[in-house]
Amino acid sequence: MVFGAVMIPIWRAASKAVKKTLSVRQVPYLAIGAAFSFVIMMFNVPILGGSTGHAVGGVLVAILLGPWAACIAVTVALVIQALLFGDGGITAIGANCFNMAFVLPFVGYYVYKFISSGSPAGSSRRIFAAGAGAYAGICASALSAGIEFGLQPLLYHTANGQALYCPYGLNVAVPAMLFGHLVLIGWVEVIVTALVVKYLQKQDAVFFEGGRS
């Protein structure tokens, strides 16, 4: 809930940045990116311990349209998801957006930029960079979510120690979130991101030319 307040300046910065960088030609891609992120999150993957996880697709959108546009696309997906399907819940919108619409696209985008810088638009180094960005982005966002969950029992509990929200501390929440994403979900994000980047390189390399794209 605290993250609602953190996200407001981030959303404001995102709309400012996108105003400057998003061209009219890219608007349909923003819509496709938001739709892609939503549908990819519906693919729940079972992970150890009777839990599930899902990819986000946000790093791909960040690579194609820039991290601020990805922030907006994933935010739209998460907000509608919470309102229409009760998934994540409206009180968690702020935290979910911080992890998946901010941490994820930015970490992913800068890892991608760092590895791909100077490589030609159609190169395979760019595909590798996209995969590495996807992996780093989703794992960073899982870590961030784990820390947020783990802090809850410390911050919010009743007088007799019963948790008000998440009952598990950092020692349980962080490994639980990280493990599944490091071994499985991260690779789902890598595969979808790398496949689409490879496909788009052939279709329209203009996505990867110039600094951003």
């Binding site: 923003l30 549908v39 009777g50 599930t52 919010y156």
Partner: protein, 111 residues
């Protein structure tokens, strides 16, 4: 065909496959994502329902709660897959529409 057309076909394929996101975890007895438990699941795990959650869960009633129709909870996997597919379509129509409008508003000032 335009590139956006091809990408929409890709989204269409993902929509058709989306019930896998319901069926596969069901086969492996995978529950909710970590931290995304319902009140019933949390009660089973810890023996109590944390008070904060109980209060918050009453704040908003989602129309297609848990990607199914009201009253369909606990139906067979085939019906649930159908509801999941309909959820995917309706979610995408709304999300793409909203993202498109936001994009139009923000991007209109140049080009």
């Amino acid at each position: 065909m335009t590139l956006t057309g091809k990408l929409w076909i890709g989204i269409g394929v993902l929509i058709v496959l989306s019930p896998l996101g319901l069926i596969v975890p069901d086969q492996f007895k995978g529950g909710s994502a970590w931290g995304e438990w319902g009140l019933d699941e949390i009660q089973k795990m810890t023996g109590y329902v944390p008070h904060g959650f109980q209060r918050l869960s009453e704040l908003w009633k989602a129309p297609l709660r848990d990607y199914t129709f009201q009253g369909w909870e606990g139906k067979d996997l085939f019906s649930m897959s159908f509801a999941y597919l309909i959820s995917a379509v309706s979610g995408i129509v709304i999300i793409a529409g909203v993202a498109f409008l936001i994009g139009k508003v923000l991007a209109k000032e140049h080009e």
